[in-house]
Symmetry: C2
Subunit: 399 residues, 2 copies
């Protein structure tokens, strides 16, 4: 029997197979569709921000020299709203009423906020109560950004504030990295579509739904989904369909263990793929290979194993490409003692109890899909550890 | 001049206006569309998990009593695959080859993993090398979950592992909370659609794009987007359109300060709304009201003010409804000294420098939309603080 591959070695090998995915092509998307996408290159603003000199306050545009000796009274000769148009230049010794964001007239070099004024006893005049220096409450054109400057760098994951800056620059679309195109294929003659009435020996396919959602949560795009019974030619047809759909990566579940009907093994091994055992529980049987230029990562068919294998081996790479943070890890105390098998890294499903300690949920069985759903962390028990006491500190992976 | 309302008081008032949004109607969505949605009620599994007794390993199904004295030799009388069908009962003194996940035949009560066997010298027989007790490597029907038990609780934000458990239960859709239906309306005669060639006095509307994206990032749904010039009847028409689109909340930008063309003020004040000043910078002018049963929260028109106001006053409620974690806050040392205005809580845009200290990005101006995009945190300067030294510890809000 072949030796079990250490977890970290398998993880490194899968990572190396996925290296090519890191060089992303780019595509243009509308601002409205760009939330969460990653800029492919620095984004230049075609205009200055703000595009014209404008008022920071509701008040009166003046020449600062006219209010040096405030309080002073000035005739109000007009009004400038935040609206299209070019205001008339400001004559010396006069003021115009001005709204926040409105263009400051030529000739004016300061804005006196309305709070620093009072109506004059004479009609159509304003009393300015405080002097205002040149530039006060005036936003100069380009004071946020000059035309041609970068408004966003490359590689930024777009949040609302980035889209706001792009919109303010007059942009309607952005060049972003294409998401990784992934195919998900479930194998197993026992699998039926969820919702189908189950005959004897049949179970709903949970892996398809789980891996599709997990791929999306990792920032990638599912371009093909398939489910095949244990028939290598059908699997080959799914891989061909994935290739035709432009998949850059194929994820499979099932068909990698030591039974008689292991279709992933049957397909990949003649193509030079590897199907073997990794020193972990759950998730021992794993596969790696390539098909028509697409890396293929094969997970076991047990739904807990398949989900965990994705999180450990593939999600880190996809998340990094999507500029998502890696899964958090925490060191927690165990609420209860536990035992583990020697020679394999155990990933027990668990949750934090009310005291912030890690407690195991369900058992180690790789079929306990409801227990996994009830968990919020994985408790990592190293290969050489077989017993842990309550209170022992363990590494956990936050789900 | 009316007194400025304290930030926390305004925040509490807005929160109270949004209380009604917390009681969410529910809707059915397909599993494929349910990622990130929130279960509206506990989800019952119509079937047991697993639905039938099956093998945990590739190996041989036996009667445990037949292998007590292992090593023993047993005739292999058949094979059970993980495939539809009912296997024949196991006769005493025999074994059947069995695959992982395959139904364990009646009569068999243990599975001997293939690793614990070797081929017998006699054809069609297997040598079992180790005894296996009743139940070993057998997954009992219902050992994960009994039929009728809850596979998911109410109020869980659906991740891939939850969808996997629902799929394994044979479910195809889930009852989830409806997302909050929000309308976003920008006001300002100076605003044009991003991408439009700018005439004098015109600027691209950044607030629409920003608030729509921010609403989505907070887990809510934008059902209406509008932009109006400073014309109260046009604003009323937008609010009516929002109502017709089923909006439960209207967010506006602009039209709330002290100028002459303040359309949000003109519309809301006669309806009993409040338009006034909050003791903060940026974002002083704010509005609250209601229109045809929809709460209306009005932000200032400056894009930095509008975005910040949303994050401070509305996002916490929307995020809580969507079961998203609140924005993180951190206490950081200032990299440089800073000054602030008395009587107003200042939210300076900033980022972490290489030493993990907070450094201010851009100035305090509410028009610095590119500087906001370049920030990753807000530095909070309390109302009564006007100067802070380098090294002073400040609260920050992580963007």
């Amino acid at each position: 029997m072949a030796a079990r591959i250490p977890v970290d070695e398998h993880a490194a090998f899968v990572r190396s197979l996925l290296t090519g995915l890191g060089a992303r092509p780019s595509e243009r998307v509308a601002l409205a569709d760009a939330l969460g996408r990653i800029t492919a290159s620095p984004v230049e603003s075609p205009i200055a921000l703000p595009p014209f000199r404008n008022s920071h306050m509701d008040g009166f545009a003046v020449r600062s020299g006219d209010v040096t000796d405030a309080p002073v009274s000035l005739p109000v000769v007009g009004e400038v709203a935040a609206a299209p148009g070019v205001p008339a230049p400001l004559e010396p010794g006069t003021a115009v009423r001005i709204m926040t964001g409105a263009p400051v007239p030529d000739g004016a070099d300061a804005v006196v906020p309305v709070e620093d004024t009072e109506p004059d006893v004479v009609a159509d005049r304003i009393r300015v109560l405080r002097p205002r220096a040149a530039g006060e409450y005036v936003r100069e054109a380009g004071s946020d950004l000059a035309a041609g400057d970068d408004v966003l760098p490359a590689g930024v994951r777009l949040a609302s504030r980035h889209l706001a800056a792009a919109a303010a620059s007059g942009l309607t679309e952005l060049l972003v990295r294409e998401r990784v195109r992934v195919a998900v294929v479930s194998t197993g003659s026992e699998l039926v579509s969820p919702g189908t009435t189950l005959g004897p020996g049949e179970i709903p396919d949970a892996n398809g739904v789980a891996l599709v959602a997990a791929v999306r949560a990792a920032g990638a795009l599912v371009v093909h989904e398939g489910r095949v019974r244990d028939d290598v030619e059908r699997l080959r047809a799914e891989f061909d369909a994935a290739h035709d759909a432009g998949a850059e990566l194929v994820l499979t579940s099932g068909g990698v263990s030591k039974g008689a009907y292991e279709v992933v093994r049957e397909l990949l091994e003649p193509l030079g793929g590897w199907v073997g055992s990794v020193a972990m529980q759950p998730g021992g049987p794993q596969a790696t290979g390539a098909y028509r230029g697409m890396p293929v990562i094969g997970f076991p068919g047990n739904p807990v194993s398949a989900q965990l294998s994705f999180e450990l081996f593939v999600a880190p790479t996809l998340r990094a490409i999507a500029a998502l943070p890696p899964a958090a890890s925490e060191r927690l105390e165990l609420a209860e003692p536990l035992t583990s098998v020697p020679g394999r890294r155990q990933y027990l499903r668990g949750r934090r109890d009310d005291d912030g300690r890690a407690v195991v949920v369900g058992g180690p069985g790789s079929h306990l899909v409801a227990a996994l759903a009830a968990s919020d962390l994985l408790i990592v028990v190293p290969e050489d550890v077989t017993t842990l006491d309550a209170g022992a500190v363990v590494d956990t992976v936050v789900l």
